[in-house]
């Protein structure tokens, strides 16, 4: 399962990229305490004020374009930057931990009754 979000900011992708990859910048918006080695295979530790801690490994890095982190619980987060006339589109997809493929009856009935409906996602 995924959660998808998107914002457009006036800054250039290179500026946003710094905020996504430099630990001290990440501490301004992502978590209270951040350690991150933003290179493929690099490790990240994110701590929040409520005592929560998540660890991640960097799966992909494309400077000013794409950062993919794999959480140690099996989930992942994909952050993508796209240059626009008005600045940068920041697109994020967080995926929940993987579950075994399942084609249960009600999922099939749902797909049969109402095929893919992506109008909302595209909007």
């Amino acid at each position: 399962m995924e959660v998808e979000r998107e914002i457009v900011v006036p800054e250039a992708p290179e500026e946003v990229w710094e905020a996504l990859t430099e630990p001290e910048r990440l501490e301004e918006w992502f978590a209270t305490e951040v350690e991150l080695d933003a290179r493929p295979g690099g490790e990240g530790v994110f701590r929040w004020g409520d005592g929560d801690e998540r660890r991640a490994v960097v799966r992909e890095v494309e400077e000013a374009e794409r950062l993919v982190l794999d959480w140690d619980d099996g989930g992942s987060v994909v952050l993508e930057l796209e240059p626009m006339v008005e600045g940068t589109r920041v697109h994020v997809v967080e995926s929940s931990p993987e579950f075994a493929p399942a084609l249960e009856l009600n999922a099939l009935s749902l797909q049969a009754a109402a095929p893919a409906w992506t109008a909302l996602a595209a909007a």
Binding site: M1, V16, R25, V92, A102, N106, L110, W117, A121, A123
Partner: protein, 123 residues
């Protein structure tokens, strides 16, 4: 644990479509909703929303209750609860983070501007 995972699996498969996921998310965020209420806030027709809500109810993901001429929907409790909780809490976390990222970029941009010499010192 296996039972809970199986339930979540089924839900994940049924929610494979991004548009349907956002619809379930929207119903969950409101507690209960009708097609008319959702269509008022989404860039799709009431009919399209009604069709998807009905399909989600047939699949057992939403519960439908007649309320006069309208059908009111709410998210079915477990097993959907677990998946929806994940979706709503992760979605809310990203809403907050992206708003904080936006603020952080503005603050950082301003502090950097102030580090540059004022115009009168330029040659």
């Amino acid at each position: 644990m296996d039972g809970a995972r199986g339930g979540v699996d089924r839900v994940f498969a049924a929610l494979g479509d991004a548009g349907r996921r956002s619809l379930v998310e929207a119903v969950a965020a409101r507690g209960t909703a009708t097609a008319t209420e959702l269509a008022a806030e989404l860039p799709v027709t009431r009919q399209a929303v009604a069709k998807q809500l009905s399909a989600l109810a047939d699949a057992g993901l939403l519960r439908a209750t007649r309320a006069g001429r309208e059908t009111r929907y709410e998210v079915t409790p477990a097993p959907l609860e677990e998946a929806v909780e994940w979706m709503v809490s992760v979605g809310a976390a990203w809403d907050e983070r992206l708003a904080a990222l936006r603020r952080s970029l503005v603050v950082y941009g301003k502090s950097r501007d102030t580090l540059q010499p004022p115009p009168r010192f330029r040659t």
